[in-house]
Symmetry: D2
Subunit: 359 residues, 4 copies
């Protein structure tokens, strides 16, 4: 009898349940429902640290393909605190190892984003058998072309821009849609193109507010009475980007606005006299049913991860490489961030149809 643990960690996103289902279905199909026991670890690594889990049965994985969120619960467990002993003298890493042994697991399947993969690699280094899957709406995981959750989040952010479009044109206003993404701009870039934004500001390409204003004024002069900006949470001005890391952080945390979009809005209003509004869809972008694209991708990843478990090919993350599902050693991934290449074809595509990056 095989015993496989499974956990989801970090911010939730669309497709987690679809991936969990695919892992389970593949294992049950291969080993038979009597040949494998699946242990759900509750609320991510926290459950592994504190020993919270439940024995799953095939019924638990039925009907969850279309469900948002994760049936296992999740929590954020910052990697940098993983080796820190907590306030109750709990040594997290040794607790996780202890619980893994106690549960008598053959392997632990881990679904998560960048931080999660780092901890997965740490567990691998500690001798545990782990297999992982790349989930995040940010699409910022190294070694995979796409993460699941990303496309569904693009759909939602695009829909928001679509709706804002009709109100922007009716009122002749400037509108900023703040899209999730503190470190990378994938989501903003794709939703911005799909939604027909006029200006896209992402962390990878620091903006010059004068350039932004110039673009808006040029539109006004050409008779276009509105402008739409898709702005990533982590958009940053050239001045700020040029600062040393510490000063930059300080400057951001001292910003007198709820978020960067409000600052940009104020600057646009002051410079152009145009009414400028901000919309922040926020967590809305990571919830709800996965779209068809993510359901297929999650299923492919889930099957591939189960296959690694079956083949005892541990220590790897499944990934999409040139449209094919591959397996990449965790040590090659951990700690790396996949940012938008500033001269990539998609960025160039945007530039060529006249979208400004505020450069």
């Amino acid at each position: 009898m095989k015993r496989i643990g499974i956990l989801t960690s970090g911010g939730d996103c669309q497709g987690l349940n679809a991936a969990i289902r695919a892992v389970a279905k593949t294992l049950y199909n291969y080993y038979g429902t009597d040949g494998v026991e699946i242990i759900g670890i509750i609320d991510g690594y926290r459950g592994l640290i504190y020993g919270e889990h439940r024995k799953m049965s095939p019924e638990n994985f039925s009907g969850i393909l279309t469900m948002g969120g994760t049936i296992l619960g999740t929590s954020r467990q910052p990697f940098k605190l993983m080796r820190v002993v907590d306030e109750n003298s709990v040594d997290k890493v040794s607790e996780m190892k202890k619980n893994y042994k106690k549960l008598n697991l053959d392997c632990l399947v881990i679904l998560g984003g960048n931080g999660t993969q780092k901890t997965a690699n740490l567990l691998r280094e500690e001798g545990l058998n782990v297999v992982s899957l790349p989930k995040t709406i940010d699409n910022d995981l190294w070694a995979t072309d796409k993460t699941f959750g990303f496309q569904s989040a693009v759909d939602i952010a695009t829909n928001v821009i679509d709706c804002i479009h009709t109100t922007a044109t009716s009122h002749g206003r400037v509108f900023i849609v703040e899209v999730m993404g503190h470190k990378v701009g994938w989501l903003t870039l794709y939703a911005g193109i799909a939604g027909g934004a006029d200006i896209i500001l992402i962390p990878e390409i620091p903006y010059d507010i004068k350039s932004v204003i110039k673009t808006i004024n040029a539109r006004t002069e050409s008779g276009k009475n509105f402008s739409i900006l898709a702005v990533a949470e982590g958009a940053i001005s050239k001045e700020l980007a040029a600062l040393p890391k510490k000063q930059k952080k300080a400057a951001i945390s001292e910003m007198a606005y709820p978020s960067i979009s409000y600052k940009i809005a104020k600057e646009i209003e002051d410079a152009t006299g145009r009414e400028t509004r901000v919309t922040v869809p926020g967590h809305f972008q990571r919830g709800g049913s996965p779209d068809a694209y993510d359901r297929v991708l999650s299923t492919r990843f889930g099957v591939a991860a189960a296959q690694l478990v079956i083949e005892k090919d541990y220590g790897k993350m499944v990934a999409l490489v040139n449209n094919r599902v591959a397996a990449v050693p965790l040590e090659e991934i951990a700690g790396k961030l996949k940012a938008v290449p500033i001269d990539s074809e998609v960025v160039e595509t945007a530039r060529k149809i006249g979208i400004s990056f505020g450069e």
Copy 2:
């Protein structure tokens, strides 16, 4: 040859174009395309004041049924400034009368919310022939059971709550969705019920933060690890609601948060220790294609308004009364607000399934 003006005023919403189309199609069908000329007034009353308009043709009204926004443009022209002479010595009311005469209009069809209806009534008092339609996502117009735009906005706010639901359950968090509505809670009430919110806070029912916290704690104790609050922009605490009007206004404007939801979130976090997040979909709620419900309602209103024009039955707003389209004298409507009756059947419905209003 009849000459009919048409304008949309105030915040845009779904269904404006569907209503405009119905007005135009009915007039063209009745008078023939050679028997009526439709004059589009640009950007609401502003266009009437400053004489901006364009001659419409039947093609302009084709294919707009599903479009959000308004093809005529709109602007906010506060009623209280209508009788004020502006900085260029423009006397707005007399300019509007002058332009109405100059355009040689038989009637002016006006689509708008509460402020718009007040100005429509003013124009009626000044002797112009007007017919109006009730549009607003707020559903706060007196004399009509429903306004168009409302149901489409309910759809969007409900969808946001749906998405937040999956993320709230996965993370075991408290989530606040701030729904549009400064003065009335219709949108929050309906979206809250439709989205399965646990707590609904609306302006009509001032809340007690202790009651809100008690409900959240009771849910936690009963094993429900998350709570969803649908909070209207104009939600107000009992303390504040009890203040005299001036002090209340001052207290609200001095609030140290971007909006009321952030204040409530802070209070919940402090009292319960539960992570509490806020989502503010904002203008997103008034954009995009009208839903099927609003398309039918807008079309019915548009046809009925055109019928009033044809019958020279001026000075009235079309309205939905007991599922039938009726016409109500503008003087009976102007200046009245339709708030949610605090013991209405829908509010009682919510209470009976265990939704708390923070009372």
Copy 3:
């Protein structure tokens, strides 16, 4: 301890689970979870006849607000066979009474359409305590302005027409969308108006194919290169409608086409030479998550039904009358059909914007 049975019967639709949830939540809130036991009857009346049921718990009703279908299962049990003893000598009515007694029910809550209400009335006549709710996408239940399921089905059929619109205009084709509704045309009428159909054919208004063809030709001549027809499953030509009932039935069953739309398509192609395509969304129209409108309506109905149970006000169906939830004696409803009044305001609305009914 109260014991309340609940069953869903007939074709499923959106909002059944939302209504079931509201019934249960209201009862649990009123009696306490220890004060009431809810018995789910499996697969509609069949479960009552053959004694299939399960004891429900509060968790069963959690998270089902947004789910399509019915968690209780359903089946079609034609009313006319209710008093017929079946092939296994089962006398259905007495079995249902026996099982009602055996389960020791205080009341049975029944969700269904026209046939279901007839059987509910029969059970009432037989001395059982019943309370019922009006569900059907057809909106053809007497005594209520709206049934739940209707608006969600309108959304779907409208969406189909929207999609067909873009393909029809691109190809310059005639397109028929066949909308559900064998006896009444509510769904076709509302989706037809909402989708911008050019021609609407419903059972209540028999069509003249020559008139249909004339309308299409007139559109072609005026430069519109496409036409969209929304046709109810039960649309009927004037010739057929004029036949005596038996002959009519025979003629319909002998029709050499899969459905009426294919016949109409052939006639249009033959007469106009225009390529004419048919789309039949079918059962798609009754599935999926209820829209916000139906979620609120189902919840209101569910609460009101539970209230009747609490007040022992049996033998009634909840209904929407002038936007207020009311209770109507089952004997007043049973056997009546609510058809579209052929000169109702909504039909007139369609006529006035130039939609043809093929008259």
Copy 4:
């Protein structure tokens, strides 16, 4: 002054307007609006044959990103008739060449599927400068990983299966959703996986009806009271697939059912006694607004095609190869079909989670 023609040919799909817009915006941006004239050829190759066209202006390409269909119109012009002189003695190929010259075009941009690409290659052979884009919901174009339109059609077919799911479970029925695709099964495969179908039948993998029935019976025995089949229009039984081409064609055309799904439904009902229903969404699958995925892909393709025009790199189709946009010589593509490889990873994925292909 450059003069660039543009046409869309074959069945319409989502993303055509998005691609057209990207071509135009890129050209206007590069040459300036005074440096290029874009000629829209009306209704595909028919317009080129009969000289129907219109001069486009930048405004024509504004606001069309989200629109389904094609602003240029389209028609089906079978490749095999291209070299046939028509009933009015029109030699199509020489007329197309003549009109190309008459319009004084520098290049013709062609958007279409397999047949369209063959004709594009023919025009290239005849000496015209052509650049083409791969559009089709079928995803069956050689040399490109994805075509635009495909993902949007997957979304719609998946949504239909989702809705059918709730009704299938409620009624305990077998349901067949017939998905577009006469020659290839991409759309059925992806929608089947995304929608959670139990059985997927595609042209590439001929089915054995006994295997299909066995799967359904096995589900029934395991307590699953419903089954969902995603069946491609071109699904074919092993018996039929084994016949020589001519006999196969004859057998298919003589089939006594509206489509293959009805035949399969009958066979399932006869063998299992289970009620089996068919839904045929049809043209609905190719209409409506493109999803975010297709909007980005169409934009990338449009920009790349314009770039080929600018660089005078004629005779090529833009394609997606390993997530990068590439250009492939038309002669390498023409006449080839990209079918689903029967042992591809996606097919294996489906098999591993227990989906049957009726083998």
